[in-house]
Amino acid sequence: MRLSPTGALRHSGSLFAMALDVIRTIPRRPFQAREFIQQAWFVASVTILPTALVSIPFGAVIALQIGSLTRQLGAQSFSGAASVLAVLREASPIVTALLIAGAGGTAICADLGARKIRDEIDAMQVLGIDPIHRLVVPRVLASMLVAVLLNGLVSVVGVAGGYFFNVVLQNGTPGAYLASFTTLAQLSDLWAAEVKALVFGAISGIVASYKGLTAKGGPKGVGDAVNQSVVITFMLLFVTNFVMTAVYFQVVPQRG
């Protein structure tokens, strides 16, 4: 791939064009329910286990950091509150994003890329079937759904992990930990996290599909496409995360 300023612009342009196509195509009937269910199941099956395994140590690290921080500040009674807040607001959407992009997005990109270089996509277009409608929309929706569900899983596992580390390993008081649960966090934090997960799922699905459908140059091209799709998705996700967090703080009044 040659690096040129216009090339980068062109790629961003066609990525957004495809995102618009996807949005425009979502309402078109018939909805590909079968493909959607298959893809949702597939993305879930490749992400659930790694997500659970990643979120336990992630919850633990947050618990460790907050445990020592609150001790230093003399605010042990707030360790539960802080830990829930951190897991719910930041950790779980980010972990979800990493896994949806890393496990789900790569699989989608490799699958579509392999079909592209075998001319399957061209064949589909010639048979009068729009690959955006038939393949991309179900995949994007599936990765959005799974991201939302995974976000719930990460929150639960992360909070439980935090509780375990704080109470069992750092000798925190279970009562204080639980009692402070809702002093800082509120329900809108959970909704915000779910919305973030939804957007992250959409971004990773669209980028993976875009890179897969534009793969060229044989098997090596598919490898490159997968690589680029992960890198681009991560960059977009972290920027989006920042923007959404900033907006959230402006829009939703905070406690305390």
Binding site: Q125, G128, D130
Partner: protein
Amino acid sequence: MGVEICVEGLTKSFGHQVIWQDVSLTLPAGEVSVMLGPSGTGKSVFLKTLVGLLKPERGSITIQGRDITRLREHDLYEVRKLFGVLFQDGALFGSMNLYDNIAFPLREHTRKSESEIRRIVLEKMDMVGLIGAEGKLPGEISGGMRKRAGLARALVLDPEIILFDEPDSGLDPVRVAYLNQLIVDLNAQIDATFLIVTHDIASARQVPDNIGLLFRRELVMFGPREELLTSDEPVVRQFLNGRMQGPIGMAEEKDAAQVEQELAALGDGDRTQSPGSQAMTPRLLPGPGIPRPPRWEAIARREAELRHRKVVADA
């Protein structure tokens, strides 16, 4: 009933590299045409442009009064239903077995019942000789079978135009002969417009009504089979005879002086040979069991006459 394709002034380039320019030709309705050309002259690109997968820089492609280079994506999908395309490796969907692959267009585009779909699919599979392989996955079968399955899939929607991208590449000579016979039989049966992109000279001599030759970024010639086979144009002669002497070189093209020298060295032997005697390979006719439409009746009569004249001349 077959549809005419009218191509005018078509030019395609990738970046600064011109693939071919100013290609104008008409594929007559219901006839078989072959597009020849050395490797890498953009034959496959031409085919993909015809179905609107690639957008040309200039020119028009008119099918049923519509210019497909200017159609919106949505209308393009409608026009594409006229086409059946056989891709180089069959381009079957790897995750489906052969039956589902061939049934796919029917399930997507028609409201036919499963039993009706089954009847059509089995009929087309029988046509290409794949009965018994319905449950196989594309990865489990040979290249020849994949091609035939791709052809069956291209046929299920009863297309008006069928495009073949190198149907003979990677096949042994016997299978190529069978495939050529299949193409001719199909043309007699379904009457669609055929375009075959290939560099197999033997097929090009036997099968088509018309031949075109792409070389040096342009269409060197396009016309009836007899005209091309008896042509004195150096590029056409070199390609159809598959020899080294002539304008086509290993890498690209040769310089004029060298070509001149080579053709001279080839001597008068080549030129004095009357073009008709060696160049006119008998044309492949539909098999015995196939009912021939009037067009093929006429062709068969002409072929018989030619053969008769040859026998008389030889005697």
